[in-house]
């Protein structure tokens, strides 16, 4: 404190100015200044220590609590995030399972449908072939029948003409006599 006053007195010219410093003196403080600074610091420190310690402690405690709360909140958030992640992973896994199941179902359905369609097509094809064969056989039979009818008709037309030409009066009489004889064999 004394040094401080001395210095102030020096500055106002009451004390003879010291020698002009040089070298390291330009950087290093004066001993007096150093001591005064230490004392001032100690005073400030003590004032702060006794007067501000409670406030600082409370502030630090509050700050610590806030940080702990934030850490806890962060941990909670992290846990929630992990839980959500697990849920998402579970959902994704479920979705993948569902997707696989759907794909498998679709594949199975498609396979069943394909089998049924193939079976139906085979059955229909077999039925068409069977009907075609039946129709062909029927047509063949009808054609054969028609040819047979035609041949029979032509043959009988020829025979009728031949018979008509061959039946003379004598043959007519013989046929009538034969008819009368056959009538005799009939009974009412």
């Amino acid at each position: 404190m004394f040094n401080v006053f001395a210095r102030i007195a020096f500055q106002v010219g009451e004390v003879t100015p010291p020698e002009v410093p040089s070298g390291t003196d330009l950087v290093l403080p004066e001993i007096n200044e150093l001591i005064a600074g230490i004392i001032a610091f100690a005073i400030v420190f003590l004032v702060v220590w006794f007067k501000g310690r409670g406030w600082i402690s409370r502030t630090l405690a509050a700050r610590q609590d806030a940080i702990i709360g934030q850490v806890k909140a962060a941990e909670t958030t992290k846990l929630e995030a992990e839980s959500l992640l697990a849920d998402y992973k579970q959902q994704i896994a479920r979705a993948r399972d569902d997707a696989n199941r759907i794909v498998e179902d679709a594949r199975r359905t498609a396979e069943t449908h394909r089998s049924e369609t193939t079976a139906r097509a085979d059955t229909e094809a077999a039925e068409i072939v069977r009907k075609a064969r039946e129709e062909a056989a029927g047509e063949k039979q009808r054609a054969a029948g028609a040819i047979r009818d035609e041949v029979a008709t032509l043959s009988l037309a020829v025979a009728a003409k031949a018979v008509a030409g061959a039946v003379d009066a004598k043959a007519h009489k013989k046929l009538v006599e034969q008819y009368i004889a056959e009538l005799g064999a009939l009974h009412p």
Binding site: R148, A152, L156, G184, L186, H187
Partner: protein, 179 residues
Amino acid sequence: MPTDDRIDGYAAAILEVAKAEGQLERVGDELFRIARAFESSTPLREALTDPRIPAERKKGVIDDLLGAKTSPLTVNLVDFVVSAGRASDLPAIADRVTARAASARRKAIAEVRTAVELDAATIERLTAALGKATGKDVEVKTVVDPTVIGGVVARVGDVVIDGTVSHRLQQLRETLNKR
């Protein structure tokens, strides 16, 4: 009037006239032959049934066809039916007259078709044979029909006894068709 009643009416009228004239059998026989000719001849049928041909011309056709070989009474009766516009009913009327006349004599009509005309002796034996075969007292009406080729077909009511060559050929055809 229903067709059947109309035919009955005409047949009854013709029967009464023929009976009154004492020509029932002849008229019945001639009408029967005319009806068969009407059935088998398309030009005759068309000439007598065509409404565009005048009645006088139809009468001329009848006189030309029947005048020489048929009794005047039968010709007049046919004229009567044709003039009344009932030519298409002529076969049915003739059949009804024949049937009624035969029925009056307690006989059944046997329509006999042959390819050639039969002599009286053959008709007599045929009548006896048909009577025995059908159990009825029959009166034979013969029709010459070249389509039978040979042999005889007789129809007594609903019974048909077919011994014609054409029938045998038809049976042969059916047999061939079955194979």
